[in-house]
Structure formats: C-alpha cells, structure tokens
C-alpha cells in the first residue's frame, strides 16, 4: 500500500494505482478525454493534468502512478488553465457541429467544454476539411471531428487484433486512417464497430438507417415486421436512461408496437432454430468425420474477419446462417405464406446490437426468399433515437408479448446475447439429442463470464466433447492460431466478434465498458432462468415450424433457407 495526499487529504491505495484512480477513491473526478477504463493509457490529450509537489511540469493523472508521500493538487489555477488550454486547442481544429452531430449530448468533448466552462477559444480556427468515409453499410468516419485520442487505434489493434486504423502523417497533419488513407470498404475491417464504442466524439459512428425505417412505417402498402435480437432486451432500457442490466423484454415489444410495426417477432426464436440446425450439424460432423472443430457462425463481424484473415479455416465454420438471417429468410417465406401476405410487400427490420449486421443483411448470399431477406438493420442506439423522437416514455410502458408464429422462444435463445451463451444453448440441446436422456444441470458455469477464452468438456454417452469459447477478435485470434498450428483439440468453438458477446456489440449504448457489459450479460442469464422453456428443442413454435414447413433439421428446405457459404477475401 502507498499513502499519498491529494488536495490536502490522505489516501491509501495499492501500489501501481494511477493518480486518477486514487483521486476517484476520495470522490474527486479528474476530467479526462483520451483515457478509457478498458484501454492502456496513451496520455496524449493532457486534459487530466495535475500538480505534483517537487515536479516542475504538470503530469497526466491517467497514466501517472502514485508513490509514497506524493503530494498532488488537482484543482489549482495552473491546472485549470492548462486543462482549458488543452481543450481550446482541440476546439480550434474542431467543426463544433454539435447540434447536427450524431453524438450530441453523448460526447466527451462537448461535456468537457461544458464542464470546464469554455466560453471562448483563444486560438485561430483552422478546420482541416478531410473527406468523410461513407463506404460501408455499417460505419461512417468523419475525420474532421477526430481529436486524435487513439482509443479506436488501441481497440482495433490490441483488443480486436485487427489493426485497420492507425495515425498517419505527423504534427498538425496527423489523421487516424486505414492504410494509404483508404476508405474502410477497401481494407480488411470486420465492421465490428468496437471503434465506435471507443470513440469519445462523433468521428466514428454507425450508419443511421432510421429514416428508411420511418419511411417504411409511413407507407401503407408495406407490412413492416421487426425482429428483436437477444441482447437488445438487456440494453434498450439503458439506452432509454435506465440502469445498465435492466431487462425490458415486454416494454421493448410494447414500444415497437407504438412506433407502428405491424408484427413484433423475436430473433430468440431463430436463435433456437440455429441451435437445432447447428447442433445437428455438429453431431453429423462428429459422426461422419466432417471438418472439426466446428466454429459458430452467428457473429457477422467474426465471419468477415475470418474471411479476410483465416480463409484457410472457412470449412470449420458452421454453414448455419445467423439468427438474424434465418429470421429474414423465414419471414418472407414461412410467415408470408401463413399470413397470406405477398412477400414483396413485407419490409423486414431487425433490431440488433451490431454494426456488422448491417453489412451481413446486404450480402448477396442473403436473398434466399427471392428478396433481400432483411431490409433494414437498426442498432440499439438508432432505436433509442426513434423512441425519443416519437416521445415514447419507456419506463411507463406496459409489458407485452411477442407475436406469433415466430415469437415464442426459450432461455437458450435469450443467452445467445452473452459470451458463452450460444455454446451453453447448444450443449443443452446436443446433450439431449445425442444421449436421449434429460440433462440434470442446465447451467454450464465454465462457459459463462468475461474471461477471454473459456473451455469445458461434456460427456455424451462415452464421447468426451471438448468445447471452447472466445469473445473479442483478439481472443479469437489466439484460438484460430492454435487451430492453424493443429493444436486446437476441440470439437466445437464459439466465437463472438465483440468483447462480452452481443451485449458488448458495436451498436450498443455508449458508454459500453467491460463493467457495464458484465451487468448486461447477467440480465440475460436472469431472463433465461425466468423462461418457461429453457432448451431450444422444447420450444413449441420450433416443433411447429418443422412440422409445417421445414420438415427436418438439415433437410432440403433448411439448406435452401437457413444455410449459407463463405467467401475468401484479401487480407490487405
């Protein structure tokens, strides 16, 4: 332990603590900008500077470790002036378009200018006029708003192990950019959107599709159907101002009805369907000597990453489409038939945690109904915008139920949104299908939680099935490298592109720290426990769709509508 004095008060903290964290312990919030709790401190913005007795220069609290007897002052005239100067220098180069900015009211720079009482900028305004990047269906870059904090660089390179963004040039000409100043569409970006969550300002954001959805809702000739991804029920409440980890399934359904959607159905239903198809695919691969280990396919950021960086491993990936795309293919076939609606008039919207889902929906493979199976993908943040615009008071809403015939789901479907959830859901079903006996303990604790890589073994009538779970592409890379080297001795691997799984998706509420993601994940496990059905194969709506439409798992219809193939892409 180390004792130091901050603003005249003694505080005792562990060795290695930063001044920033030590100050927090005694209720002092030092302002920060380039600092992010989940990332290595780069200390480039100098907004967090403090005075340390005996030191001539002010030091950044976010990166400066405490030491015995240190005397720190966080609120002196010199400190306040230096902080203001740092922010004013940024503002001199900044567009200051707050009123029209996607991050208006949720921007760290804006909040800082307000907090430090900046009323004028004493430097010459010099905007850079850099081109915007609208090249992908998922992500928009506005480099003029970039404050060069490097949080996205750190996230892309060290958390996701991708490294698409890097500062180029120097001094006043520095730009955070893909190689050669290219657009994101021209490089091997997973479109995961983790850089958006990392960005303190509006320099990287999701492509906003709300206008297209408003238009569809306003068009009387369109039958507008929405599906709700597992993770959204644990995050949309937060986006609407509730505590992180508040579960709001029923209110979400009610809110979507009030926005005017004709049918509100559930991606959890097709999550259950994924388990049936994928579970049977796994058993078939094991029985018939197919390519093993098999890797899950529901995370489109992981798929795109795999196509760019591990094209040799594509045969390992399950051919199952993601739950979003299974739903899309069925809504314009099965549902259209049952409801007697011309699929040409169905506009299918999906509510997703994820920016890569926007790309997935536009893939040429995803038109098995004869139309684009999913017409528009909205992230949690975009739905939040629509609900606020419509003036829907979220906490006052009643609890309502999803619509049939794709509205019933199980606890297994719900946990898809947390890392390890797909694996656990699959094990519940695979065990019972393979052994014919009932599973005693449904909860596979080993695959839960936020450890980067998790492993478990399950005994299926004498065959020990070994499984592994990785979340975040950086962790996925470790397992994929083992696999390439022939050292991944597993049958089944779950890979989720985003740290924490879909609760940490690139379309989720900002801020999205690991601490917050943990709370969201726990909400999904709670949802699971409260469900009448907890195993995908017990879902009555699933039994019904096989009886009426699909016939059998891995059958002809399934192959046509529910399975897909992958494309190898270049790494550079």
């Amino acid at each position: 332990m180390v004792t130091l004095t901050i603003d005249g008060r003694k505080v005792q903290v562990e060795k290695g603590t930063t001044i920033l964290d030590a100050a927090k312990r005694i209720g002092i919030d030092i302002p920060t900008l380039c600092y992010h709790p989940d990332l290595e401190a780069r200390a480039v913005c100098r907004v967090c500077v403090v005075e340390i007795e005996g030191q001539k220069l002010l030091q950044p609290a976010c990166a400066y470790p405490v030491s015995e007897g240190m005397v720190v002052r966080t609120n002196t005239q010199a400190v306040r002036q230096a902080r203001r100067m740092a922010v004013e220098l940024l503002l001199a180069k900044h567009p200051q378009d707050c009123l029209q900015c996607i991050r208006n009211q949720n921007c760290e720079l804006q909040a800082l200018a307000e907090r430090l009482g900046i009323r004028e900028v004493r430097f010459e305004r010099r905007l850079r006029g850099l081109p915007e990047d609208h090249s992908t269906p998922s992500i928009v870059r506005e480099p003029d708003k970039c404050i060069l904090c490097r949080r996205c660089v750190e996230t892309c390179q060290n958390v996701q192990g991708v490294g698409v963004l890097f500062p180029a040039g120097r001094g006043a000409d520095t730009v955070v950019t893909p190689v050669f100043g290219n657009d994101l569409a021209d490089v091997s970006c997973a479109l995961c959107g983790q850089c958006i969550l990392a960005c303190p300002v509006g320099a990287i954001s999701e492509r906003d599709d709300t206008e297209r959805v408003w238009e569809a809702l306003a068009d009387p000739s369109k039958h507008v159907v929405v599906q709700t991804a597992p993770a959204i029920r644990a995050t949309i409440g937060e986006e609407m101002g509730m505590e992180p980890g508040t579960l709001v399934t029923g209110k979400l359904v009610a809110a979507l009805r009030r926005l005017g959607f004709d049918k509100v159905m559930d991606t959890d239903f097709t999550a259950d369907l994924t388990i049936i198809e994928e579970g049977n695919e796994l058993l078939e691969r094991i029985k018939e000597g197919g390519v093993l280990p098999m890797i899950t396919s529901c995370s489109p950021g992981w798929i795109k990453f795999g196509e760019h960086y591990y094209p040799d491993l594509l045969p390992h990936i399950s051919t199952c489409k993601s739950p979003q795309q299974m739903f899309g293919a069925l809504v314009k076939t099965y549902y259209a038939q049952k409801a007697g609606i011309d699929p040409a008039n169905i506009f299918s919207v999906s509510l997703m945690p994820c920016t890569a889902k926007k790309f997935e929906a536009e893939r040429p493979e995803m038109r098995s109904s004869g139309y684009q199976d999913v017409d528009a993908v909205l992230t949690s943040r975009e739905l939040g915008r629509m609900l606020r615009e419509a003036g829907i008071r979220f906490d006052d809403l009643p609890e309502e139920e999803h619509d049939d015939p794709m509205g019933i789901s199980t606890g297994a479907g719900a946990i898809f949104g947390a890392t390890g959830g797909v694996m656990e859901a699959a094990l519940r079903t695979v065990y019972e299908v393979a052994t014919g006996s009932e599973l005693g303990d449904l909860e596979f604790e080993q695959v839960r939680g936020l450890d980067g890589i998790k492993e478990a073994e399950v005994n299926l009538n004498g065959l020990t099935v070994r499984v592994a779970v990785a979340h975040g592409l950086g962790n996925a890379k470790k397992i994929l490298e083992m696999l390439r080297a022939g050292k991944a001795n597993y049958h089944f691997i779950e890979i989720m592109c985003c740290p924490g799984g879909c609760v940490g998706g690139g379309g989720q509420p900002i801020p999205s720290t690991m601490e917050i993601k943990g709370k969201r994940g726990r909400a999904l496990y709670l949802a699971d426990r409260n469900m009448p059905y907890r195993k995908s194969h017990e879902n009555p709506a699933i039994k019904q769709i096989y009886a009426e439409f699909l016939e059998k798992p891995l059958g002809e219809r399934s192959h046509q509508l529910l399975h897909t193939h992958y494309t190898s892409r270049s790494k550079y």
Binding site: G163, F166, A168, R170, V179
Partner: protein
C-alpha cells in the same frame, strides 16, 4: 556487379523482425527512392504487422516518402531557426523557380520539394539540402543559380 537489390532481398534479410521496421523502410527507400504501396504491403506481410501501422510509420518520419520523387530531392528545414531567418522566402523562390508546391515533384521528374526536420546546420540558417549537399546562408536570389547546377 552484385546485381540489383530488391525489396524481397531486404525483407529476406530482416524476416520476422518487426523491431527492424525503420531500418527496412530506410533500405527500401534507398533502393527505390520512395515507399510504394506495394512495398508497404510487402513489409507488413513479412513482419506480420498491420499495413496501417507500416503506412503510419512511413508517413510519420520526414525522411520517408510514400510518393515517387524526382531525381533531385530538395529538403527545406522547417525548424524554428531556419523559419525565423527567412525559410519562407526561400520556399517561395524554390516554388516559383520550379513551378511546383512543397511536397510535389516537377513534371520532368527532376526535382521534388520536401520539408525536413532540422538538418543540424543552424549556424548557416536558412539552409536547404539537395540530395546529400547542404546549402546555407541562403537568400532567394541565390536559388536560380544553385538549381542550374542540377538542371
């Protein structure tokens, strides 16, 4: 003759040594005159580094250039002493004489104008460097004569 050194030769020499990135870029630039997109991708591949990072390094140091350059590279010191002692007037004279802006190359491929950080001859500021030769104590009227030696 030892033959022409290629980018591949350089990369074979440094294979799997990401710490040698700067040395590699130097050697490639010496051989090719600049760092082409193809070279940058090759370096990234050989060292297993993100291409964005190699490009970032190549654009950060003023001695590297990612654009093809003329046969004669004129580097103008952009540090404070040169600036104070009239580097701007020298730049204007060079730009006028060659008909190009800083960072550009003449149409005939003979000259490139570039900034550089301090070249260590502050005593004779303002100074420029043409290829490896330093010219100090410059005034704008000396420029045409100096350039004529390279035309």
């Amino acid at each position: 003759m030892a033959g022409i050194i290629t980018v591949d030769d350089i990369l074979t020499k440094y294979k799997g040594r990401p710490d040698a990135l700067i040395d590699i870029l130097h050697e490639i630039q010496d051989v090719q005159g600049f760092l082409s997109d193809t070279s940058i991708i090759k370096v990234a591949e050989a060292l297993d580094l993100p291409a964005s990072k190699v490009y970032g390094v190549a654009t950060f140091y003023s001695l590297f250039t990612v654009k093809p350059r003329g046969r004669n590279v004129i580097r103008i010191c952009e540090s404070a002493p040169c600036h104070v002692l009239g580097a701007t007037a020298i730049i204007n004279a060079l730009e006028k004489e060659l008909g190009i802006k800083m960072g550009e190359t003449t149409g005939d491929g003979k000259f490139t104008l570039e900034y550089t950080s301090c070249i260590g001859v502050c005593g004779v500021a303002p100074a420029i460097m043409i290829n490896e030769v330093v010219y100090g104590n410059l005034t704008p009227d000396k420029i045409p004569h100096i350039l004529s030696e390279y035309r």
